[in-house]
């Protein structure tokens, strides 16, 4: 389908025309994350990126696998997912979804993730104001990358340009055809220009060529100890990474009902790999940091052919002790030569 556009003031009408659960970035506490909204809610998409990535919708931090009555054995699976629209997803985070899709669908399908993923239309917003630690362009993305998106919006000032990318995207435009207008060539050109400008603003870079092999070469290198030593083993870098999907499964009771649920977990936690015997194959922050970086840039790449990092920069922005994945990669590249 062709490119469309809509006046910002009419964006609410666009949303109203969609008979779906809407999710958009809103402030919860002090930070932005994707939460359910109604078409009437005020939308403010003028931000660099959300603190909590949209994975929280497709792969919620806590997700019930099934419920049961305590003491009984009948399992109640959750209801089917409703149709959802994720609004204002940044291209890097959308690419992360495309990456995570591989994981959740290899060999076994993950019904919970897939159930949501399939019912979700991802509406992206081209990034106009990358932050200092954004490096999407180094890992195969860009401020207007479309991978993982169904529809891309570009903010042209007065209007949003809508660029449908998939059938789901087309459907949205169809459903809301009434309120949309055809976009012009000039609009498209203006968007293209904005996209390029944004890409030009990205300052941090890394050369990922051969990094997969280099990482394995440097398995025992002292850089791991040196660069991880300050790590606190907090889960920040992983919990908020859009491509991190580790989880734990736990049973919890609420009143007389019990449920088995999965919750986000992090490979940076010491007890993540701790065996019941007390043995821990990754006993210190050194092994854990190495695993995090290797997983993204080597293991995942070996297994799925893609680097599992989209360059959103969250882990760098939010690490309280300035453990900087780009810095680590730079060291790796330097040492491997």
């Amino acid at each position: 389908m062709e490119r469309m556009k809509i006046g910002k003031e009419k964006f609410g009408d666009f949303l109203a025309a969609l008979d779906k659960q809407l999710y958009a970035p809103q402030k919860v506490g002090e930070t932005l994350r994707f939460v359910p909204i109604t078409p009437e809610d005020k939308l403010d998409l003028e931000f660099s990126n959300t603190t909590v990535p949209p994975k929280s919708v497709l792969f919620p931090q806590t997700e019930t696998l099934y419920r049961y009555e305590l003491g009984k054995t009948d399992l109640n699976l959750p209801d089917d997912e409703a149709e959802k629209v994720l609004l204002g997803v940044r291209p890097c985070d959308a690419r992360a979804m495309a990456i995570v899709d591989d994981l959740f669908s290899w060999d076994y399908n993950d019904p919970y993730y897939q159930g949501k993923r399939e019912k979700t239309t991802v509406v992206g917003l081209a990034c106009s104001d990358p932050e200092v630690n954004c490096f999407c362009t180094s890992v195969g993305g860009g401020p207007a990358s479309t991978e993982g998106l169904d529809l891309l919006l570009t903010d042209l000032g007065e209007v949003y340009l809508l660029q449908p990318l998939t059938e789901k995207g087309n459907n949205l435009c169809r459903e809301a055809a009434e309120v949309l207008e055809q976009a012009t060539e000039e609009d498209a050109a203006a968007a293209e220009k904005l996209h390029q400008e944004a890409a030009g603003k990205i300052v941090r870079k890394v050369d990922t060529e051969g990094v997969t092999e280099k990482l394995m070469e440097l398995w025992d290198h002292s850089l791991w100890q040196d660069l991880s030593r300050a790590c606190l083993g907090c889960g920040t870098c992983t919990f908020l990474c859009p491509t991190c999907y580790c989880f734990d499964i736990q049973d919890e009771a609420e009143g007389l009902e019990g449920r088995r649920c999965r919750v986000w977990d992090s490979c940076m936690f010491a007890e993540y790999t701790l065996h019941a015997s007390g043995h821990n194959p990754r006993p210190t922050v050194r092994e854990r940091t190495r695993n995090r970086v290797n997983h993204k840039y080597s293991y995942f790449a070996t297994k799925f052919g893609k680097i599992a990092c989209v360059g959103c920069g969250r882990c760098i922005n939010l690490c309280p002790v300035n453990i900087d994945i780009l810095n680590i990669l730079a060291e790796v590249i330097k040492e491997a030569i």
Partner: protein
């Protein structure tokens, strides 16, 4: 070993006491549905023999391994049912009770609601029962000996009682002689017995009793272990006089270069002694001691050409090479009878104690009136030719007692009466004396006290109600400035002697014993008893008892009474030969303990200590509980952030499910 919990629930009707408000059948039926419940029954009297038999049979036949009894308060029958379990071969701590009588049927009228509550209580008991662990009740042997610290009248009395009962006593006295404060007194109120006359025989008894090992001039250095099994280390200080050789003749003291130059402690500094000395004539043991802080030989290494004492001593008892000796022994119980110090009157500078020689304390006056005192019993103030007999004499009471400004809020209990006694003795010794007593209140509470007080007043001693604000010198006289609060008139009383009725304070070195025995102090800084009413001779440390003024001010009869109490408490332990230790004690998971020591600080019984352990090659501090000391309060558990301290039968893992059961059951 995990065994699958199989719970039996027994709901008691208690005649109709429970069943008239609680639908016991419904409760039992409900209980039978609870997880892990194998049988649930109701019965008219669970505590009766047939009721208990029911439980025992089910344990045998149904293979029950946990029991819930829903009946009266566990405070009533927990022990009964524990025994029932034990009789059936089950660990008695696999019992949990639900109190559906005192806490339910007796306090509620609404049958429906009461039944619902009973169900909740049973459910909570059942989830806890599920998680109970078997506990062992341990018994430890008691070493048949006692340590008594302090040989004042309290320590002496307790020692004699215990020794008489046939047990070994180690009586440790810090000073060279037994006797304590009482030996300093002249006569004792209210009967005016001569102190020495009633005390000396006991002192001698103590020294000669075959069961008593007297360790004078000695100090307890360390006590470890726990009730029944204390290991004691005592330092016998060097006297520099061979106890076996010394005959107590005293020529050494006469010859000593420092004779008459050193203030005598016994005479409160008013008399003088030599560097080698006997504290007082009736001292026991009657052996001389060299004061290492004064003796020229010991302080400077030289005493003239040769030490005169050595030259004088016919038996060659003096030995400057003598060294402190450490004695170690084991005891089953300990009595602390370290007594008191008198209030230091210079802390009330307004009374001029430091400034005027004719301002003295009650204890000094005791020495003055004593026939064995520095003046041979004459009331003489001042030295040599200037000495005079005072005529106008004022007592000021409550000096250092009932006085927030010096930190002593308590009443010293003896000053009122010793003032009356001393006033009486003064009027006896100085017939024309004019004695008045400034007081806030007169507390004549003991047997014969009021009568004695009355007698003294009738003898002409004037009691003036008012707390003097100042004592100062005007010409030859001292002026006591006060306000007579009964007449609201200011008074400026000119006198020759002011006697300060100083109060009693904890020994200045009380801390030593606190640290050694891990005792606590009450607000008044005296050693704290386990319970002010019901355990006034016990302490928080099992097997350690208090006697006499160490626990708080008291007179001789009370001191002796408490000493006898402490002795009999100690004897209970010694004669039974065994002590049971708590089973529901605290336990620390050393893998998770972070060694912060919170529990150590918290434990009122000093049952926990930090120990260094090796964790994979690294040293780590962890807490460890001594089961024999822990009383099972659980205060440490709630104070442990890491959840490492857990009290058996009251573990977090057992209480949280109880909370859930009660919360969820609505």
């Amino acid at each position: 070993m995990n065994n699958k919990p199989k719970i039996g629930v027994y709901v008691c009707h208690c005649g109709i006491n429970i069943s008239h408000t609680v639908d016991v059948e419904a409760v039992a039926e409900f209980a039978s549905q609870l997880p892990n419940v194998r049988v649930a029954r109701e019965y008219s009297y669970m505590c009766s023999d047939p009721g208990q038999a029911l439980i025992r049979e089910d344990i045998k036949n149904e293979g029950l391994n946990r029991v819930v009894v829903a009946s009266c308060s566990p405070r009533m029958h927990e022990l009964t049912f524990r025994k029932t379990l034990a009789e059936a071969g089950l660990n008695p701590y696999y019992l949990e009770m639900a109190n559906i009588r005192e806490h339910c049927s007796w306090v509620h009228g609404d049958r429906e609601k009461a039944t619902a509550k009973a169900k909740r209580l049973v459910a909570a008991a059942a989830v806890k029962a599920r998680l109970l662990e078997p506990l062992q009740e341990k018994e430890v042997d008691v070493e048949p000996a006692s340590l008594i610290i302090g040989a004042g009248i309290a320590g002496i009395q307790a020692a004699l009682d215990i020794a008489e009962a046939g047990f070994k006593v180690y009586l440790v006295e810090k000073t060279p002689s037994v006797g304590g404060r009482m030996s300093q007194l002249d006569k004792t109120f209210p009967t005016l017995d001569c102190s020495a006359c009633i005390l000396t025989p006991k002192m001698v008894d103590v020294a000669s009793h075959p069961n008593i090992e007297l360790l004078t001039y000695s100090q307890v250095e360390d006590v470890s272990g726990y009730v029944g099994n204390f290991d004691v280390k005592v330092r016998k200080k060097a006297r520099y006089v061979d106890m076996d050789k010394c005959t107590g003749c005293g020529v050494c003291a006469q010859e000593c270069r420092l004779t008459g130059r050193i203030p005598s402690e016994f005479d409160e500094g008013m008399g003088k002694r030599a560097a080698i000395y006997l504290p007082f004539p009736q001292a026991v043991p009657a052996k001389y001691t060299i004061d290492p802080e004064r003796c020229l030989m010991l302080t400077r290494g030289k005493c003239g050409k040769s030490p005169k004492c050595v030259d004088a001593c016919g038996t060659g008892a003096i030995n400057f090479e003598q060294e402190d000796e450490i004695v170690e022994f084991k005891v089953g119980s300990i009595i602390v009878a370290t007594g008191f110090d008198v209030f230091d009157a210079s802390r009330k500078p307004e009374y001029g104690y430091n400034d005027y020689e004719n301002v003295i304390t009650g204890l000094e006056l005791e020495r003055l009136v004593s026939a064995s005192g520095p003046t041979g019993g004459d009331i003489l103030i001042g030295k040599g030719d200037d000495a005079y007999v005072p005529k106008d004499i004022a007592f000021i009471k409550c000096v250092g007692s009932r006085d927030k400004s010096v930190g002593n809020e308590y009443c010293s209990r003896v000053c009122c009466m010793y003032t009356a006694k001393l006033a009486h003795l003064l009027t006896e010794k100085i017939p024309d004396a004019n004695v008045r007593v400034y007081y806030m209140d007169v507390r004549a509470f003991g047997k014969g006290f009021e009568e004695f007080y009355d007698r003294v007043r009738r003898e002409g001693v004037r009691y003036i109600r008012g707390n003097p604000s100042e004592v100062f010198k005007r010409g030859d006289k001292l002026v006591v400035k006060a306000e007579n609060t009964l007449t609201s008139t200011p008074v400026e009383d000119e006198v020759d002697l002011v006697v300060l009725a100083v109060g009693l304070e904890p020994r200045r070195d009380a801390r030593e014993i606190i640290d050694i025995l891990r005792l606590s102090q009450s607000g008044d800084r005296f050693y704290m008893e386990a319970h002010p009413k019901l355990a006034p001779v016990d302490t928080a440390t099992d097997g350690v008892f208090l006697a006499g003024c160490a626990q708080g001010p008291k007179d001789i009869p009370d001191t002796v009474a408490q000493a006898k109490g402490a002795a009999s408490s100690a004897l209970v332990l010694l004669s039974s030969g065994k002590v049971k230790v708590q089973a529901q004690v605290s336990h620390i998971n050393e893998d998770t303990c972070r060694g912060c020591g919170y529990c150590v600080e918290i434990c009122p019984y000093s049952a926990i200590e930090l120990v260094t352990v090796n964790q994979f090659g690294h040293e780590a501090l962890v807490a460890r509980v001594n089961d024999a000391l822990c009383k099972g309060c659980g205060a440490c558990v709630a104070g442990c952030f890491s959840g490492s301290a857990q009290q058996k039968s009251f573990m977090d893992g057992q209480i949280l499910p109880q909370i859930a059961a009660l919360g969820v059951m609505r």
